[in-house]
Symmetry: D2
Subunit: 505 residues, 4 copies
Amino acid sequence: MTDRNSSPLAPQAPLATSPFSSEGDDKFHDECGVFGIYKHPESAAHTVLGLHALQHRGQEAAGIVTFDKNQFHSHKSQGHVADNFNSQPIIESLPGDSAIGHVRYSTAGGGGMRNIQPLFADLASGGFAVAHNGNLTNAVTLRQLLVSKGSIFQSTSDSEVLIHLVATSTYQALQDRFIDALRRIEGAFAIVALSKKRLIGARDPLGVRPLVLGKLSDSSYIFASETCALDIIGAEYIRDVEPGEVITIDENGLHSLKPFPVQKPRPCIFEHVYFSRPDSLTDGTSVYKVRKHIGRELAKESKVKADLVVPVPDSGTPAAIGYAQEAGIPFELGIIRNHYVGRTFIEPSDQIRHLGVKLKHNANRGEIEGKIVVLVDDSIVRGTTSIKIVDMVRQAGAKEVHLRIASPPTTDPCYYGVDTPEKDKLLASRMSIEEMTKYIGADSLDFISIDGLYRAVCDADRNPDEPQYCDACFTGEYPTHLTDKNQHDAPEQISFLNESNSKSK
Amino acid sequence: MTDRNSSPLAPQAPLATSPFSSEGDDKFHDECGVFGIYKHPESAAHTVLGLHALQHRGQEAAGIVTFDKNQFHSHKSQGHVADNFNSQPIIESLPGDSAIGHVRYSTAGGGGMRNIQPLFADLASGGFAVAHNGNLTNAVTLRQLLVSKGSIFQSTSDSEVLIHLVATSTYQALQDRFIDALRRIEGAFAIVALSKKRLIGARDPLGVRPLVLGKLSDSSYIFASETCALDIIGAEYIRDVEPGEVITIDENGLHSLKPFPVQKPRPCIFEHVYFSRPDSLTDGTSVYKVRKHIGRELAKESKVKADLVVPVPDSGTPAAIGYAQEAGIPFELGIIRNHYVGRTFIEPSDQIRHLGVKLKHNANRGEIEGKIVVLVDDSIVRGTTSIKIVDMVRQAGAKEVHLRIASPPTTDPCYYGVDTPEKDKLLASRMSIEEMTKYIGADSLDFISIDGLYRAVCDADRNPDEPQYCDACFTGEYPTHLTDKNQHDAPEQISFLNESNSKSK
Amino acid sequence: MTDRNSSPLAPQAPLATSPFSSEGDDKFHDECGVFGIYKHPESAAHTVLGLHALQHRGQEAAGIVTFDKNQFHSHKSQGHVADNFNSQPIIESLPGDSAIGHVRYSTAGGGGMRNIQPLFADLASGGFAVAHNGNLTNAVTLRQLLVSKGSIFQSTSDSEVLIHLVATSTYQALQDRFIDALRRIEGAFAIVALSKKRLIGARDPLGVRPLVLGKLSDSSYIFASETCALDIIGAEYIRDVEPGEVITIDENGLHSLKPFPVQKPRPCIFEHVYFSRPDSLTDGTSVYKVRKHIGRELAKESKVKADLVVPVPDSGTPAAIGYAQEAGIPFELGIIRNHYVGRTFIEPSDQIRHLGVKLKHNANRGEIEGKIVVLVDDSIVRGTTSIKIVDMVRQAGAKEVHLRIASPPTTDPCYYGVDTPEKDKLLASRMSIEEMTKYIGADSLDFISIDGLYRAVCDADRNPDEPQYCDACFTGEYPTHLTDKNQHDAPEQISFLNESNSKSK
Amino acid sequence: MTDRNSSPLAPQAPLATSPFSSEGDDKFHDECGVFGIYKHPESAAHTVLGLHALQHRGQEAAGIVTFDKNQFHSHKSQGHVADNFNSQPIIESLPGDSAIGHVRYSTAGGGGMRNIQPLFADLASGGFAVAHNGNLTNAVTLRQLLVSKGSIFQSTSDSEVLIHLVATSTYQALQDRFIDALRRIEGAFAIVALSKKRLIGARDPLGVRPLVLGKLSDSSYIFASETCALDIIGAEYIRDVEPGEVITIDENGLHSLKPFPVQKPRPCIFEHVYFSRPDSLTDGTSVYKVRKHIGRELAKESKVKADLVVPVPDSGTPAAIGYAQEAGIPFELGIIRNHYVGRTFIEPSDQIRHLGVKLKHNANRGEIEGKIVVLVDDSIVRGTTSIKIVDMVRQAGAKEVHLRIASPPTTDPCYYGVDTPEKDKLLASRMSIEEMTKYIGADSLDFISIDGLYRAVCDADRNPDEPQYCDACFTGEYPTHLTDKNQHDAPEQISFLNESNSKSK
């Protein structure tokens, strides 16, 4: 899901503190995580835990909808799951044995409450709740059509299109309406939905965004964006929901449908590089292992004679371990991270603004002084953090600083549910590697090749005719139509409300 | 507007502290006040003041929508206007030179935020905001129809029906769609609406709920539920919006339409008894004068030989003054009111629960001891407060306590936007005056006659064939169809969401 | 109690919404109310109710200390009692069968928490809590002495001097230490104190500030600033604590001490004019009756040929009733008060600032138009509100506006626990009655004479040699030494901390 | 500083999320960090940053006092520095060019506000603020003495004794009073203090708690608990404040005093094991290097034939790297930490309580399955977390789990400002290593020897006659008198107040 137009009232984008990122504002951000559970007496509590495990996929807001055989219940909140869904009264306000939940990255602010998912509609057939990870590339076009026929939108989210398509579908059965709606949308989606009778999980035909199926204690099925959400509740990983598959779970068990024309899957390769948690399996393989493998490929492609390999914590760590093992150079924590970073730490004044990066990191001078250092990071977006990190390491006395990046240069924005800057803000779209090296101030800079990345992920080079993954951010080759982008190059016109709320005692 | 089903998560109905009522839980409550202003550079600030003056019509929540020629802006809040719309940043978040606002009585709670008006929709023709005072008696029926065609409702408010009727109307122009919608609804409404081009005020064909038109500094028109909202901003009262009239105001000035079949007006007579502020004009006449007149009629009908006339503060005061003047008995403040009553004061324990009434009132023993007292109150609903007040006056040493009520016995509930108990909770529906006298513990009890009330309000007896007012709460004669009531005697089935929100720092 | 120096961080003095005042910022304010109860199983709940009844004596903050035979417990809060002491958990956090409480007027702000009473000290003999109404006129002098000997002050309140005097007294028994401390202080005080063994009530030798004794259900004694706090809990009024009396209550019952040299009492006459609630007894006589009597004396002294008598609500009402009765002119509510005034209502902009007074009041045009009006108010301080009220009544069409004041001109500040402006801010200290009439814009203006006031209060003229009351605000004759004022005309130098607090989730 | 008796109203000790600990409730906790800066135009902002860098030493509350040549200013808050001192208004409320600050671990709760340091007193010589890390072992004894002489304590903190000793000292000059006070206290202290004229840093004669001196831009001196607080503001590390040294800094520069009888220093050895940040220098040596050295010594003493070395994140990581390097076994992130842990995450129900540990950690199954694993942790306190971690690793398929601990068995509590359980709650005080191995469920368990630890820290074995460090938690040999412990074995009797606060809008 994405916001079409963010509220001007919203505070400036808070720095999200991703535990696996080195600097909130210079990473791509996955925009959502989803979770669903069917037929478990503690469905809400398990959804809370599942969303907590998926928190890295969306730190701004979270929501849960449950169904208790009689009524739907919802709690939504801005902020972290662990801070907002951790009280017994909230768990008790979410009764029922099936539930879906959603965590969300995106601009926040008072008005943002209406954009928090799951979305809910009271259809003629009863309540229907939907949580969506991904982004629809024809949402604006569909929205205009729906509004012209009398649909009233409550949010600025692309995901709301889906629920209006279901509401206005001419099919009779809810399941048919849902599939009718899915066939009309274009883009990337991993969806969990809840009706009075069933839990549904659906993944777009290319499988761009991940979705896995799990099982807990025989009778209870689970959908989640990543396997780490199964681990936290002790559930068993069964398999990935397949690209283009719609799985419905009801009293009679699990049913798999394939309602779309068959296409070659192209899951997002960046999930392996950065988005997924290192302890998750993506496409059935260990993310941590893949990242170490990337580090090893990187060491093969771009070796340096150095004294130590230092990860940019925490996201660069697995690749740095792989690099160090392959290169036979000691792995050391040359940068120490301060985990106590408030979500909106304001640098106290102009004079000390340059200290900013030190709020989160400090160079471990004892290890670095006088040494040749290989710094390993997962990616470079704008380059702003890289400059500060390299400088900090140099100030701590490093003799040389060589920066190695565990992904190819990111040259193009993502339209599939990842928060990326405009193309011209991407450092690699504007500069050669030589220029970037100079800009960042490193002694040398290198990126893994696209083929090296593919080898680490799937043991094969990239197939240029039929790429095995969506790698548009590295190649600019988008695997779907981009209807809205092509039709709406003018600023999008949703005349929506600037909204805020308050509440006195 | 009314909620069809209140959230089970909502706290128990807080005691609303109406300044003109003696006890929050034993009065009829008007459910809303509306305000609109067109073409004034300080539209938001004036709407805040106007809603503040209308606060007695709805203390639970308030909302404002403005339009700045480009975009609509909204702020909504639970709680009082003076506590939630009093900061410069909030005023500044509501730019534009036209605005509408709404204050609301009703069950509160986290989930209630979505029921706060004005309602807003992003129609194909642009944004459209609506604020409604009254209640639609065919809302459930219309809602079912709309949902079956794909409309998705966001609130449990009857008023939302209106906006979906506008959105799905087959007419082209927004104004025609709005009138098309008004023709399909049944019940009581005083509505202000705001589009990109115009401010609209509309009143139902019977004129049950009030709506007045005012003017400020030549160019700026205003709609408001009562004239006190004109006074606070120094605006001039022009006239009442007529029953069945739709007034639109745009660049070209004011236009009056009468789109409904003509009917004899029947405005709510209880506005004169209790709802309206004493400093307002209702139907062009002073509410304070009418209430004193009621007191005088009451004295004529039901004189007592007494030492002093004591109002039940504050709503009984004007009638008590009239009674005292007519009867030639001294008017004294025999009951002193404590204005510092928290909105949710919990009586600290069972043992001292009987002290409850004293949180708000204390008998002025020095005046009352040994005296024959006429207590004057505006109405009796359940009788719970009357019992306590009479007892308190007696405990303070009154020789006799004679209770006189400035309205006829309230025997029937209201379906036109007034919060009333079920019929069997209304004391007068279950008891004769003799039984009530005994139940309440007064030495005598009397009510003004229905004809006496009419004489005070319009200088004429009630016309039984064509009553001049809606007096259904006294007579059970409802002036409109009650479609939902007749079709939906089973508990209404809107399978809506139990919703709550939170927000961590 | 008073603050010596208010925090520069504190927000500008919020407009306190006294229910008996017409405008928060143009009245004298009593600065505190006290309450104590001994040996009642619901001591905290009763103290909450008692403080609620005394809320008009201090709306800014409140505190309660209880003792449960083992430990002392405290809850303090900024804001109203009804909003902050109304939850069961707070009542339960205050166990024990004896309690004292305090409500406080004064500058608020984060740092103000430490100034909220009761003050508490862990003395060698055990815990000791004190609540004080009044003001010590030698507090600065004593504080300097105590600090030089090693006492560390935690607040800026004059009252803290008392507790350090107790702590450092050379007497052995706590009661002797307390009396030793009382003998060293100068000024006005009504004090309740609580130790492990006893509840103490003490009143200064002149009895400037009030304190009454009551009884509940045989065994339980109560101290309170006014009798209305007895009424709310159904307690019996026994008598006033006498000027110069110290009453201790313990297991063995009630003991009265008179530890001071005997002086003629001089209780504050302004308690009758404005401070006390109309339903209280002050010096054993009904405040409401006295105020009506003042109105009658005023009518005798300063009659007007008029159409109606209109009170400035609510504090002018009893005097207006008396005036109307004496003068034989109809009493009418010509000004209607809006009770929904937020505590910090900010006028939305400069352009509409002049509307300010209408936030609280609206003229009842129907009664006033074309009439000669006598407006009755209780006092004039700066005159700012009077100007607006007179103008509002005139704008509503009054033919003539005659303002009558139920107290003599206030020419001098109070040093005994009443918040008054500097002398040169008092209108009557700078202008003659003629000048004031013109300044305020009334057709005529008159005040009751000082002898007229005395006649209303005690049926006798003022005795110029030995005045029966403290009337310094009208006469400038202060009944005590003013040690600090004479020694500290330079700005007082307490180098105290500017303090603020916050708390993240 | 420590609380003598915690409030019964306080919530159960929240789980502090130390970024370097594996589980909040099973570690020793350093109880405070201090910071002071003299003569810098941005003293408050730098103190905020310094405290942020010291946050791991006290996560519950923080406070800052500044002096602006005229007045002292303070802000205190519960919660993290980054969440509570990050706004421009708060920085602006702390003007001045000198400042001291404090972060605090300890039980929180409403009443805790008064225990937040710096403490402040308005002495005869002017304001004086103190921040203390450590614990006084004769505080109760001194407190009783001071109270008996009339001192009134405001907190339950041992540190308040110090400020009353200063206030009541018979010396004249403030500096002499302060040294007089220091000579009377016993135990561990690293103190920064601020008066109108100087900044003072003081360290107890044994140097148990650390304190360093730094310099920023020529003129500005800094005290801090650790060098990481110098790094964050770009200050230069000069040297440690020496054990028994009192350094005063004023207009004339820096002055060193040694007012105590000389003793052999015995700094806390646990600072090296766990408390200090790995990027700090303690006693001039790199904490990270020492921890890796401990890991290497541990590998020498207790080698295992294993497939991989896995740290218990994050505190076990440096020792694990050292262990892996020495043992020649691959270092792998076999446990992944979830950083999004709310401060008060409540496990949603009994049924899923066993999932608790997974809120923070997940085993990285891909690395662990089928492998022999060496787990490295820094210490074992109660053993509760170790059981869960070992079980989690085993459930993830490890063939064998060998636990190695980078400190000797912790057998005794600390009385010098570290939060430790009672002796009988310490696992190692009750069990042999064999019993612990079985209890925890590891295949083997071993601790580094005390001599091994000394070798890693100071390249020499422990000198049993004159130990070079305070190692009481491993040996039970306390280097100071424990006056209170010996005199007050009965429960301590401070009859203090149970206090809470609230604030209505």
